[in-house]
Symmetry: C2
Subunit: 343 residues, 2 copies
């Protein structure tokens, strides 16, 4: 491990430490003769000197480090990290991972204060809203940005996707390809049906779109269960329906179940069953046969935007209380699960 300090550099260049520091940080209102400047730079090169960011941080009251918290079991957390990583790298920040085992916020605070992290980024579930955490953030004046959380609370900076728009995009696409009134398939997690903010946005958007096109909304709601447990229901439903049918599933898992049921029944996806997913959270759509068309939440881009905003807050370019929302648009992925027919 390199043990070269600014003192060593100063000594070698025949100047004092402060000069080295000033040159490195090009401190405003300082003038060093070109000669000494060059000799210092040379010494730095010769000794292969690297500043110790910890020590700098200790002095400046900063860490140049942000923490990203999320659920380590969901692949979209990684997507977000991808975007956040790129931004923090180019801004000179390091990204610390914090994968809470159970998703509790409390330990994160301890982590934050002990490491003196400069700011926090969390990947939340849509409609996440924890008042206590919010309170903590405010009392500690922690620079904080949430991904997909606090959609209806303006006291938090969050990066959100326009779910309503995503549904419109999907329906427009489907309707253009297949002149069959789309059925909305809504899968939900948990024991009981408790639609969150994103769910409500999507459902409302579906209804609006259908009305605008003079069509009757058709909604099927079903709890998310493993295929093995629930296959009977799916096979029965799909077997009893008049094909061809066109389905928009709020979650790709629903579409996946349709694939399985169709396989059982000998029906063809993209011909007998036209189906589209309103997300690509599990990142498997392009591997399905045939490729599942979907609307993708741009997680990486969201992570990037969130990191950018966070760093702006940390560096004072953005006031901590100036907590607007950042909206992103969905992306349409065109597969083969929606066929083509001419009206």
């Amino acid at each position: 491990m390199s043990r070269v300090t600014s003192k060593d550099v100063a000594q070698r260049a025949g100047v004092s430490q402060s000069v080295v520091s000033a040159i490195l940080n090009n401190t405003p209102g300082i003038r060093v003769s070109e000669e000494t400047r060059q000799s210092v730079l040379k010494a730095i090169r010769d000794l292969n000197y690297q500043v110790d960011i910890r020590a700098r941080g200790l002095r400046k009251g900063r860490t140049y480090c942000i923490a990203a918290m999320g659920n380590m079991n969901t692949p979209f957390f990684f997507q977000m990290l991808q975007g956040a990583m790129a931004v923090s790298l180019e801004s000179g920040y390091s990204l610390q991972l914090y994968g809470a085992p159970g998703g509790e916020r409390e330990p994160l605070l301890g982590w934050f204060t002990q490491r003196r992290i400069d700011g926090i980024l969390t990947q939340d579930v849509t409609s996440y809203h924890d008042a206590q955490w919010l309170n903590t953030v405010h009392t500690h004046k922690i620079p904080y940005v949430s991904l997909e959380g606090y959609p209806e609370d303006d006291r938090v900076s969050s990066v959100l996707m326009d779910y309503a728009h995503s549904i419109e995009m999907a329906l427009d696409f489907m309707w253009d390809r297949v002149p069959i009134p789309p059925v909305y398939l809504e899968i939900y997690g948990g024991r009981e049906y408790k639609p969150n903010w994103g769910d409500r946005q999507r459902l409302a958007s579906y209804k609006t779109w259908m009305e605008r096109n003079g069509l009757e909304p058709q909604i099927r709601t079903r709890m998310d269960r493993p295929w093995a447990e629930d296959q009977a229901w799916w096979v029965e439903w799909l077997g009893s329906v008049r094909t061809p049918i066109s389905v928009l599933s709020n979650w790709s898992r629903g579409a996946n179940h349709l694939y399985r049921a169709a396989y059982r029944l000998g029906l063809r996806i993209g011909k007998d069953i036209h189906v589209m997913a309103a997300d690509n959270t599990e990142r498997v759509n392009e591997y399905l046969v045939p490729v599942l068309s979907s609307i993708e939440v741009p997680y990486a881009e969201m992570g990037a935007k969130a990191a950018r905003r966070l760093i702006d807050m940390i560096e004072g370019k953005k006031d901590l209380n100036d907590t607007g929302k950042i909206w992103l648009s969905p992306r349409l992925i065109e597969g083969e699960s929606i066929g083509r027919s001419f009206r």
Copy 2:
């Protein structure tokens, strides 16, 4: 932000800083009266004091921080992070992410020295071997562990999977289910066929297994191309083969292509085409219809083992030059793509 220091605690408890420090670290060979000890602990609670790990690190020459580098575009990097995160969390280390855009090692060194990171973990491709990086690691005496890299170089600690064994497991499973001599399908990346260490391990294992069972090895080798470009070849091959056929693909992508070709030809996976993948790198196998059977590389577990080893090296429990390999076994995931027939 909490600005409570050990000085504040000392003041409140009516003792000096050193006592606080001693109690916190229970410094060996120190004896504090139970009374003062309790009052210090109380002061810590009252003030909600949290040690500043940076400052501690500055003093002790440690950061309590390890860096994980990998390719941010591959999902198995995330798998590895999952395991590494859990271990570092419980050991009091923080995990810094380093997603090199192009995968270059050089910037990582600068990062390492500037942040004074305690150790490095890299997710490498099988058979990765960069002599220059190795040299850097040694001259800087960096605690370092590679995942899947340097399989044949004992000067590096690496965590590896037993590929030979994985192929045996797969073939045993297939042969038990379907009495058709398995064809080995080898997909390769890059312009030309250049099998790496893992590839060679697998292929050799296939040949050995076939010979042991008195069967003739049948190998198909094909460059990895997008489906759209290469579908003609796949459809033609599968169309010309005598079904039922049993195929073991070194990479799940090959199996995925077979699914597509079968779909085109109206053949059934698990009946006309029995297929198995020797990996689950893209983590899509369970979503395919029907579920693709495979051998899974336990990336999370590997990440955990690697982090454990790294921390042992950092803390001196393991000598830096004592660089053995850590071997892990594959895991069999039983899907439906291999049917069942009785001999």
